[in-house]
């Protein structure tokens, strides 16, 4: 479209000029200035509050920066990889890697399966009733974790609502949040509850893009509903499923807020995540160590995103 107008104007000199339509050099320079003017407010805030801290954190992870150095940030010592060495010899950091790993490896499949089941159930229906269910299942996503944590702690008390309900069917429930064996599963349960809505909506959007005639053809060929799900719907949905997996794993790797408001990383560090470890080191004033830990997390997130996108591409 723009190529034809460019040719008409007689200034087609290469693919780069396609969008510029015969702008003279001065006009082009003027437009560049105007464009940077439009970008300026964003660029200033972005540079100061995003780029600078990202670079700063990277730099700090190679220094012995502590809370006392805030007064003179440039007087700190370069210590090379010392902070990273300290990290990987700290058993608490290794514990936090394990805790985050369990949270991610258990949390992601459970969240995805529940969300997919809801999306499939809602996709078969129409109209207001679907909107009603969608709103209901999505509601936990929009609520403040602090407010939600209050009621969940109340529900999970040794003699709280959950254990009273379990007692009715003859099960003696544990002390969920104070038992090292049950604290992490409790937080996973809560995270699933808070995140299913997001994936449900994404999966529903994906399901609505699956062409109906493919499923109809499979029905004509006598495929059972289960067979259609496994052989038709899920393969067509794979890009959406993988995107959902990336989104949710990036979120779950940063697992922090649930632990912060529910258990403070305890009992016995059984819910100490990497992000929580980082926050603790920040609290102790060990800024260099905290930065190093945050970059380990960043690296893990970047690697997993890359890996999942690679998987997404190679199978298509």
């Amino acid at each position: 479209m723009s190529a034809s107008t460019t040719t008409a104007a007689g200034t087609l000199s290469g693919p780069r000029s396609a969008g510029q339509r015969g702008l003279g050099a001065t006009r082009r320079r003027r437009q560049a200035l105007v464009a940077w003017g439009f970008a300026l407010p964003f660029v200033i805030v972005f540079a100061i509050f995003m780029l600078f801290p990202i670079v700063g954190s990277f730099a700090m992870s190679f220094t012995d920066f502590t809370a006392r150095d805030i007064a003179s940030p440039f007087a700190v010592n370069f210590v090379g990889l010392q902070q990273f060495f300290t990290l990987f010899t700290d058993t608490r950091f290794l514990t936090s890697l394990g805790v985050t790993g369990v949270f991610v490896l258990v949390g992601i499949p459970v969240t995805m399966i529940v969300a997919l089941a809801l999306a499939l159930a809602l996709n078969s229906g129409r109209g207001r009733i679907v909107a009603f269910f969608r709103v209901g299942f999505y509601a936990p996503v929009v609520t403040s974790i602090v407010a939600i944590s209050v009621v969940w702690r109340y529900i999970l008390q040794p003699e709280g609502l959950l254990n009273s309900a379990l007692a009715v069917v003859g099960i003696d429930g544990p002390n969920w949040l104070n038992d090292p064996a049950f604290a992490l599963p409790s937080l996973i349960m809560m995270a699933v509850w808070r995140n299913v809505g997001t994936l449900m909506v994404i999966f529903l959007a994906g399901l609505q893009a699956v062409p109906e005639d493919v499923n109809e053809a499979a029905t004509m060929d006598g495929a059972s509903p289960w067979r259609r799900l496994i052989s038709v719907t899920l393969p067509l949905l794979r890009p959406t499923l993988l995107l959902g997996a990336v989104l949710i794993s990036v979120g779950y790797l940063q697992f922090f807020e649930e632990a912060f408001v529910m258990t403070k990383g305890g009992p016995l560090d059984s819910t100490l995540s990497v992000a929580f470890y980082t926050y603790q080191q920040f609290g102790f004033g060990e800024y260099g160590l905290a930065s190093a830990a945050s970059y380990v997390l960043f690296l893990a997130i970047a690697l997993i995103s890359l890996l999942q996108f690679r998987l997404l591409r190679s199978k298509d």
């Binding site: 964003f42 972005f46 700090m60 299942f137």
Partner: protein, 295 residues
Amino acid sequence: MTTSTAAPAAATAQPRVPRRRRRTRGGGRALTYTVLAVGLGLWLIPFVWMVLGSVKTQGEILRRPPTWWPESPTGDNFAAWFGPLDFGHFFVNSVVVAVVTVLGNMVFCSMVGYALAKMEFPGKKTLFGLVMVTLMVPGVVTFVPLFVMVSKLGLVNTFPGLILPFLTAPIGVFLMRQFMLGIPDPLLEAARLDGAGEWRIFTRIVMPLCGPPLATLGILTFLSSWNNFLWPLVAAQTEEMYTLPVALSLYSTGQNATDYGLLLAGSVLVITPILLLFVFLQRWFIRGVATTGLK
């Protein structure tokens, strides 16, 4: 409340079956809805339990086993928030932070989005590349230097300190740019030929077309600002500057840690505004998730 709505839904599903069975999968659909209704009832129990607990007396809250329905409903817990605990002040703080953050994001992200979508300038690719890379950076990475910097600037415990780090977001730039790419060039070119400047084109032609992405951006930003917790917790250091989640979190770890009636009432107050907003604007909320999720 929810269990009571779930039960009649299950009951009325029964007589409807014969009528529906004329269509082939009606019976299956009724079963699906019944299961969904029961599931939703269980799903929403935390909210119901929160509301019920917020009107119970301290004595009833502590009773074991717990009572389901409040025996003698009381408004004392809410009265405490509106009286000595100064809920109104925290509420105003939360609103100020959220509204300024939303407006900042709408204006700044649209402006840079317009430049990235519709203009040519040196550094354009680098700028967009940087925005995309930072989408992946977890918040915990910027947290420490951000705090050091905000302390150096003397902004701890001020509104600018609470707001500035969130005044623009890479996701907002991405959202606005993607939408503006779809605005046809001839429309802007015609205005340019008529002698309109870029600012005029941006405010009179581009922005009026940008309703959908602005709604999405506004809702997502408001939501994350309203629920934001960790940054205000370290950046707001006196009661004067607390936002709602910070106030609630500090009360729930302090001397009131076991006063569940009071804390549940606080929770109700924190989530009610956002839940109301969500119910009224649910179409936009959900569209926002679907578009940003499927970027």
